[in-house]
């Protein structure tokens, strides 16, 4: 008998080309590790992409919140591609509309402004995660 977690899976794109990917990654880590450790967990997006049976079994039983750095929406598309249910898509580009002109750092390190964006956006994401978790 296998145990399937009912935690919401939070999947950032972790894009490596620009700061947007790192923002998404840090938002995801903040939600999973600090803001919603009881309600959320993550999976490696790269592991999802391998389409191994083990991860596909976990994917089909879970609800996902994706966080994408750019409009290409790689995390959301990748989760949907393997049959996952994306309950909410977040886009970093949307979050950045509230911070026009702000430079958050680069793809390897965020600056103070970048961490402020992570803090504020992760709060919003965690609120949605708790709602989705409560719908179970």
């Amino acid at each position: 008998m296998s145990f399937m977690s009912k935690k919401v899976k939070v999947i950032p794109c972790s894009g490596i080309g620009k700061s947007h990917g790192l923002l998404a990654r840090e938002m995801g880590l903040r939600v999973v590790n600090e803001l919603c450790p009881q309600e959320a967990e993550t999976e490696c997006l790269a592991y999802i992409m391998t389409e191994d049976r083990e991860i596909l079994d976990r994917v089909k039983e879970s609800k996902f919140v994706t966080i994408d750095g750019c409009p290409k929406m790689c995390a959301a598309k990748s989760v949907a591609h393997v049959g996952g249910t994306v309950a909410q898509e977040f886009r970093v580009v949307d979050a950045l509309k509230e911070y026009r002109g702000v430079k958050p750092g680069n793809a390897a390190a965020l600056n103070e402004d970048g961490w402020k964006i992570v803090d504020a956006t992760a709060e919003k994401i965690s609120a949605r995660v708790k709602e989705i978790y409560g719908e179970e």
Partner: protein, 145 residues
């Protein structure tokens, strides 16, 4: 036609320390050690309709950098594009137990982590330079990277 650019593809590594190290080492190599000689490709873009990424990895030499022994970057790249030229396994360099430890935020990177990044970067550099040497004198189509 231009000089051969080498693609370095890191795993996304949200699940373990090795993933964080993998990403930082890949960025360090391409931004500081061999700037302009290679490009990094977003692994998830391979699935999300990234024809440029898939095409680049078919036409150009590639190295994958994987944080743990699942080797997701290597396997996903080879499934969607083609055989990679070389692989860097972070777990082989910093130890399996360390690599599979809890993932950390970049705000918690300390001197020990930075030392791991440097060791992995050096391993990528050695393989990167070997591939560059093998492709010396060969020219591949310039793509949009």
């Amino acid at each position: 036609m231009g000089a051969v650019k080498i693609g370095v593809i890191s795993c996304s590594g949200e699940d373990c320390l090795g993933g964080t190290i993998s990403r930082l080492a890949t960025k360090k190599l391409l931004d500081e050690i061999r700037p302009g000689d290679g490009v990094t490709l977003c692994l998830p873009l391979f699935i999300a309709g990234g024809e440029e990424e898939r095409g680049f990895a078919v036409a150009h030499p590639t190295i994958t950098v994987d944080g743990c022994d699942k080797l997701c970057a290597k396997r996903a790249t080879e499934r969607l594009s083609g055989k990679v030229n070389d692989v860097v396994q972070v777990a082989d360099i910093i130890g399996k137990e360390t690599a599979e430890g809890p993932v950390i935020s970049t705000c918690n990177i300390n001197a020990a982590h930075q030392d791991m990044v440097d060791k992995v970067t050096e391993e990528i550099r050695v393989k990167f330079d070997r591939i560059a040497e093998n492709y010396k004198g060969k020219a591949l189509p310039i793509m949009g990277f």
